[in-house]
Amino acid sequence: MDFLNNLGIGFVQVLQPINLLYCFIGVFVGTLIGVLPGIGPVGTMSMLFPLIIVSTPFQGIILLAGIYYGAMYGGSTTSILVNIPGEAASVITCLDGYQMAKQGRAGPALGISAIGSFIGGTFSVLLLSLLAVPLAKVALDLGPVEYVGLMTMGLAMTIYLSGKSLLKGGIMTFLGLSLGCIGTDLVTGKVRLTFGLHELYDGLNIASMAMGLFGISEVLANLSLKERVVFKTKVGSLFPTLEDWKKCAFPIVRSSFLGFFLGIIPGGGGVISSFVTYAVEKKISKYPEKFGQGVIEGVAAPETANNAAVGGAFIPLFVLGIPSNVIMAVLMSAFIVYGVAPGPRFISSNIELFWGIIASMYVGNIMLLLINLPLIGIWIKLLKIPYSILFPLIILFCCIGVYSIDYRIFDVLLMIIFGIIGFFLNKYDYPLAPLVFSFVLGPLLEDSFRQSLIIGSSDLLYFIKNPITSVSFGISLFLFLSAFFRQSRKKVMESSGFIEKN
């Protein structure tokens, strides 16, 4: 009964016209950036900081959350029509989506993608609303030592999933953690690693960093690419046939479950869930050889999963106060801007805010279905906007957005520097997500580590004696070892000529 009452409180809030407008702007902008390759949700969320500064915490958070799940919807459009993923989580949709478009079935591909996204998204919000409260009660019993273990596991998972090289992922993680130390140390009061720049006394600005690494560097990388060509096909009817429905029903159900739980895993989120569910569907399919040639399950499964992962990704943030991926890390920064601390006490002390966000996600998913299906023609037209017109606007919004946070030109310069850094790091396969993710986790990790040392009387074995922490460390070690052996085996295969070097 409490659940329905609380949900009712949330709906009362979100159904106010101004809040509906914020929710709509969020999902609309999310779909837009999902459709337009070249800028992802992280850069956009940072860019819209000026808008959230003038809004209430509830309005700001529902706007940013809307961008996240809106981008998951929109990303499929370019994957299907252009064979370029609008968002990283839609990479796998290119395989079958584009083939379907080439076979004249772009409409059903777009339709099943939107409907699967709606089902996955709504299902995950339902699970989020049912699980978050009991899990938060459990999380209240966790102390700093458990947090050290969980955060270490999160970082290990991010390194493991981040890219080709474990070493480069590790370097980026330690670099991010080190950058997180910049500023005034709250325990000793000493100013650390500012190298004489008083602008850094409060630490690096997360928005400058995220906009530089994910906004500016993306633009710079895209500047050297050719203009994309939109596949010329009649979209036709968006509704899948009865045969399509029969094929997609179980993949959608499976991917909703799987996507949600993969979203909870630190370092996971939409990208991992879309890849895993595609692999699962291919594995259990009666015709795995047809995957990649335009089977509709190959579109339904990943698109359902990447939206289902969104609800899952909110669990660690709401329950533990630990972001599970880089998008959640930026969202957490927005919470901090508003003076709201996510964590085990977040739900009990912010009932209206929490249930309002949940209700906004139900409403947002319905909005997305409405703006994605009937308005598909508009999104296709937007795809035809040349990049030479888009990129100046992206840069201007980044420049304005980053200045609007603290009104400092220094932050604009910082963003440009991170843009250059991101451009080169990306070019040489250094993963950027662990850098931002660990930057946000750094201060929390250091704080928990210091508290643990005090509680455990500076005994390092205290970490091992704790069951949750020791299991977390064990999983982290297992991940490193498995990645190490995987890479070593690959190198041996490459050197013996069994596989091509890349």
Partner: protein, 156 residues
């Protein structure tokens, strides 16, 4: 191109390594402390040590990597005109430097002119018209409606 990519890759690792060494020096200045009584430099010191240790094998790999890999990196980056990247960064720097002196409207306009020109070098009317439109709309949205206090510049 291959040689340039190889050099750039090595320079990146060296720069990260150098940053790590700077953090280690700074950590000593801040006082590292002990496990019983960690100082302000304790955490950064160990992070930088770990970062520098990981940089060594990457540096060795970068030096040893075959030319074929750098060929692939060159292909990945599209072999596109690098001048666009340099000009874009230059324009952004100019924007940041002159924002306070010239004010938002003029710097928005100049930034837009430069950036639109990169993609449309032969369409001056379009570049000027579009830049003026974007600059005015951006001013209206962010300064008039959202009340972001941008420097007034020459209209101070």
């Amino acid at each position: 191109m291959k040689a340039a990519n190889k050099k750039a890759n090595i320079v990146i690792v060296l720069l990260i390594e150098l940053f790590g060494i700077l953090i280690i020096i700074e950590s000593f200045k801040l006082e590292i402390g002990t496990i019983n009584n960690p100082g302000a430099g304790f955490f950064p010191f160990f992070l930088a040590m770990a970062m520098c240790s990981l940089c060594f094998p990457v540096l060795i790999n970068s030096i040893k990597e075959s030319d074929a890999l750098y060929e692939k990196i060159a292909q990945k980056s599209g072999e596109g005109p690098f001048w666009k990247v340099v000009v874009t960064l230059g324009l952004m720097m100019v924007y940041a430097v002159f924002l306070d002196t010239l004010g938002s409207l003029i710097t928005f306009f100049l930034l837009m002119v430069g950036l639109f020109w990169i993609g449309n070098p032969h369409r001056w009317r379009f570049v000027l018209g579009m830049s003026a439109l974007v600059a005015i709309l951006a001013n209206l949205l962010f300064i008039t409606i959202l009340k972001v206090p941008f420097p007034p510049g020459i209209w101070r």
